[in-house]
Symmetry: D2
Subunit: 447 residues, 4 copies
């Protein structure tokens, strides 16, 4: 499915999860294992160099590995065979100690963790990029008033700054979560055939400690071959991140509608054209992000469902993780990359926002009048009165201000001047700015 | 993720959904469109040959297409551009009529339908293979008695024939469903930019009819660019098929447990070995099928969720289909291929089945005694009495027969001979054989 | 969660799946079983009346059943106990034959099938209602032109008739599918403890035939306790139906946006008001349908995933069906009920549709000009030229017609009159009407 | 669906999410709002008492609220109306200030957070109970050796202590995650109609601060009406927790198989019986937990997918949360309650574990021999040799020890005594005990 890779996976994560990346992850485990076991005097120190030298992904025949994996049931079995053969050519003695005391899952799981660590680095850089873009847009549009919409209807004025600040706020939380989960996620898996490291006799824990140090991974209290909550947690994180991105893409796409025209994705050479309609500019970035947001939840569900694994190594559940998690990371990463770019280059049309605010002839300010009257009449009675006035204005095609001025029940409490001021959307943005300030401060404090 | 393709996608479907297959699907649409429009005198007949000649996937630079697709938002836009350029070189006049009156989605959706038609052919062949394997095993093990298990506990005897007949029965239903959905699924998508074929003026329907004929596809009553129930239906079919396969794989894997040892997947050179444990034979085929069964439901959910598309062409929902449906078809197809092979070569251990039937010292026949006593005592009272006898037999480590013979409440109604006969598992398989006969007859009648 | 029932489950399906409905489903099975077994001379004919008389849901203490079910692991075990006790009071002899030869799953699965049959009747009535409403709206708005939108951008004109005809077309397909699946779904489950009906000796099949007749259900070739494709199929159907409903609700909600204002859900007393904003009218029906469309795919995934059940009765998978399938049916049914009502009362604003067609000053007609020029210049060159003109018109704030008239490359081929005609959206609806006619004919032919 | 509540929702969470619980959550918000606004001098202090007095769920007609919600589109609109009416009766002046400046979503979301806080308390208590049960079983079975199984095949010996320690380790991580997410989850939602608190003019933030304090909730930097990552995070947590529980239930159910018989769920009066088979004891607790584990992932997916909400208040996405999240919490909670009980009363059969270790006549110890030979021959050659010996032993039905003793390639390096020691499963548990110690220490340190 490479044809769609640049579209959906425009991200450094793709390289991390390439076939070569996957092999290298496992080979890094095997090399570190040799070093750790030599350090713990479990294997001869002389064996290390030959093993390390052979632990380079480009030395392997990927086609052969792929075919052997179909029979073996996983990639590590043929990889270890081929690796042993490689080492044997250089140093037959060293070849004896390849993969010493480890099991396939040790290599596969730890290799995956090493890939995830790289992927997280990529994602963090893109997250920072998106946050920077958001901060800039928020600062620039801190006071740009536009229609706030609820249930997809005009509700009240808000500011573009606050709209974007909501996303920034969520991203700061995602960042916080990511910091918290890292020590849990970046954990060594090393248990040997059944999780007891029995083949290393009493040296199991010593080797495990060395190995964790070598790879700069957490040494978990127990091997986690059968306990997949680490996988589930990072999957949930990618899933929720993609949801946050999808929410922003949904909003951008709604604001880009020809009928709304308040925003535009940045135009690019050959970006977003139609094959038949010369006038169109399609929100391609939004489509990519929304597509990822449509797909990510199911991938998370797959990984949560796959947690129910049997005994010391699952049958099917473990296998289901192998493609689902990298797929999820790449789709999330691709969405993030694309959205960071789109936000940075967002075209904003404040004059159209103003036009849309005025389009309903004052109706959008109904709540302001209600609140002002509510002090006198009570909230619910004021609500009923203003609702009646709104219907009247709509039916007559008049501005709400005119209709209100004509009603003595209103003017008894509020003068024409009061009403005029109350109906000005620009000044009815409440504490939007204070909210913005809070998020910006947190963003500037580094999340 | 090619490294895992032979493992998870050991199926002809993989070729169908390769990048080349995807391009060829769209190009077949473009070639047929030229023919259809010439037939309807919408474009000059002279243009056809040049267009057709250029509609071969191997003529295109896949890397360039992939990169352009990232900007364009879909594959058809760059493909049409490159195709037009190709045609222009051979025949500038013909180049004017490439993709005439069509839109990207027409090419993409119809191309997908053409791929699905090929995939269904592959799947049907494998389905036939699995059914044949099942029929053979059923015939061979029509009277092979083994423990029937409910709630993962020994329940009553059943036959291996009936166990497998249940799967065969389900597969025959899946085949029936597939026949029903074909005319709906194998339908032309052709609507032009917004589904009205406006660019073809009053010739739209005539071209559509020609085009459907050319491609031997159903001409739908309306274009279905925004109505994705066809996609959802075939997704549901693949999902349910995978569920049926998964159920059989689960059963095989349970019967293959070292502690049960009633069945074995066929052994093959380098198949199912462990990297550390020389004595092991891993159920690799089951792992593949169970992994597919873990992943398929979420892919179906993605495609169902993606049905909620906006207006005349969706944003994100449509894009979410592009990889999810081929992925689903390939995983289902891979599972089917692997399971067909496993069933054909299944190793059956009837003597161990018999041992397991006897392992509970008659407890498995408790129901037979209950029913015999129930005629006298009523079902519920008989149930209570036999339950008591079972507990007693277990506690004392005695055979249920002995315990029953010792109880006058039992022997009042049933002689030792009666009891001995009642406790023989081999003859307590009810109408299993009649059930088997029904399914075999249907299978032989061609589903 | 009753508080939200009228909102989300405004449907006859809710009654079908009430606690009472669930009990009655199982009791109908038990009563029919007694009749069938008496007919097959397996139990005495005298036992039937007493059993039948006790098989009324209102005779049972639901609280007690619910509590006992928690220990027993399913509802049928306590129900059979309570039923036997009931019968015993009236006729101790008859009590012996309650549930004779059946197992819990026979009662639970067949009871569910009976409930599903009722639910399908309810759903079919609502489907008919929605189709009638669509036919009426299509006929009324067969020539009502509005903006066709792709990627959420103005694309080309289309008609409201065609938009709705797409949904009608999909619903006719759903109806077709429903007819096809009925004989598979409405199937007896009757296999006894392990699927062999061993407890009925050689009478198993005869009883099963009688029972299927009694309940007017299909007699399947084999019991399906472990083969859940029937459940998966109907789940997929409900899921895809909900997707189709969600697509229409999405479109209505987009067209109801204050900024678009082309449609309105019917207003009702206290329907769609806001707690704070007196001017708002919220699309409540759309929210209900979209919510169902958000939830249904996951429920389908649950049921597909649950197909992987162990041996002759699953552990957990079967249990997962019990609430998920009724929930799915009720949410789908609720969405259908609400949407049928909304479509019937849809408020359409053709004058606003016209305004929106004109809002882009001719840009929406760009394709028409492209096609006209394409005959001369080739499709791709014409596309480039018109694209340039569109950009120019937008930048200058001029109508596309003016810009085109000013360009000799255009007027060389097309006169001002030609252009004027080409730029009229009302006549650029292609074969929309022919498409509509096809669907209406099929609808009138009864699907 | 009350009939299945005691089975699936045997948890305090059920009360928390009852209809009354839901109303009370919103009413607690309304009461606190009045207090906060009085404290900020936004409403008269005199209004508070009357409002507070009316904020008791039992004062409301739930049927009426449910019906009104169907028209209004949410529960808060009718609740506020009924509440205002209640207050009016006691104090017409106070009635003016009910729900002052708030919007429906403020009440619904904050009410939900208050319910979640209660649910988390319940869940934490059950988590503690399960952890205590695990610690006790681990301590008791720290040295109980049983077969470790991978790919559902016998692999190597392990200990029951280590098996359970893996789950305990995962639960400690879940607990850690829960502590981390609490401040994010237990956050006030208060934004008014569009998230700006405009109706409170410049008092919005002050009221928000007072309100957060009143309810002891985090005051978020921005309102989160459109940013649903908090919901997604707790959903992911419940989902992953359920996965961990499901994994343990799967293992227990596998070990409870009649063919394995190493464990039993605690028996209880009327617990786990069969309706037809008197000898059976069904793993009801496992079924409940596995059913929850089958259903939870899809509910998480629903909530992740629902994150893509429109603008300042979503249409459908928000509504999809209302039942899905409480459902998820209750199913997870029910599974936790049931499993805590099952683990506490687990019946362990060490003698049967020993029998199963011996069942393969030494094959389970093949790795030990391989490692011993590996030092001499290299890992891969040793693997091949021992694999050959295993096959030979199996074929001949001999104990592996005998076969090894007969082979000079083996005895050249290892004496009969060496081999005898190597083949003793009891001492081949590696560093299992050290792993256990690590987890127990962390558990005792309070996670």
């Amino acid at each position: 499915m490479k044809l769609l890779d640049p579209l959906f996976r425009a991200t450094g994560c793709q390289a991390v999860f390439s076939d070569t990346g996957t092999l290298q992850g496992m080979l890094d485990f095997e090399a570190a294992l040799a070093r750790a076991e030599a350090a713990a005097a479990v294997i001869p120190a002389e064996a290390v160099a030959a093993i390390e030298a052979a632990c380079r992904a480009e030395l392997f025949d990927q086609q052969a590995l792929a075919e052997d994996a179909a029979g073996a049931g996983n990639l590590a079995i043929p990889l270890v065979k081929h690796l042993t053969a490689q080492v044997k050519q250089a140093n037959p003695d060293a070849a004896r100690y390849v993969h010493w005391g480890a099991t396939s899952q040790d290599a596969i799981d730890t290799g995956l963790v090493l890939q995830l660590r790289q992927a997280v680095t990529v994602v963090e850089a893109d997250l920072a990029r998106l946050q920077t873009a958001l901060v800039e847009q928020i600062q620039q549009h801190r006071h740009t008033v536009l229609v706030g919409r609820t249930w997809m209807q005009h509700a009240l004025p808000t500011t573009l700054g606050l709209k974007l600040a909501g996303t920034l706020d969520a991203l700061l939380r995602h960042q916080e979560r990511l910091q918290e989960l890292k020590p849990r996620l970046f954990a060594l898996q090393f248990g040997g055939a059944a999780g007891t490291l029995a083949s290393l006799q009493d040296q199991g824990l010593a080797v495990a400690q060395q190995l964790a140090e070598q790879l700069q991974l957490t040494l978990p209290d127990t091997p986690w071959h059968g306990q997949r909550d680490r996988i589930a947690e990072v999957a949930g994180w990618f899933g929720a991140l993609t949801g946050t991105l999808g929410k922003l893409a949904r909003d951008i796409s709604l604001l880009m509608q020809t009928d709304v025209a308040e925003l535009n994705e940045p135009a690019g050479e050959g970006r977003g054209g139609s094959s038949t309609m010369p006038h169109k500019r399609n929100p391609v970035a939004c489509a990519i992000v929304l597509s990822a947001a449509q797909r990510a939840p199911a991938l998370v569900a797959t990984l949560l469902g796959a947690m129910v694994q049997e005994h010391e190594r699952g049958l099917g559940g473990w296998h289901a993780e192998w493609e689902a998690l990298p797929e999820l990371a790449q789709l999330a990463g691709g969405a993030l990359t694309v959205l960071a770019e789109a936000v940075a280059g967002l075209e904003v049309h404040p004059e159209q926002m103003r036009r849309n605010l005025d389009a309903t002839h004052g109706l959008i300010m109904a709540e302001a009048v209600t609140m002002a009257l509510g002090v006198q009449l009570g909230r619910l009675d004021a609500h009923k009165l203003v609702e009646e006035k709104c219907r009247q204005a709509q039916a007559a095609g008049r501005h709400l201000l005119q209709v209100l001025i004509d009603d003595e029940r209103v003017t008894f409490y509020l003068s024409a001047d009061d009403l005029s001021r109350l109906l000005d959307p620009i000044h009815y943005t409440g504490v939007a700015d204070a909210f913005i300030q809070r998020v910006l401060s947190r963003a500037q404090a580094g999340g």
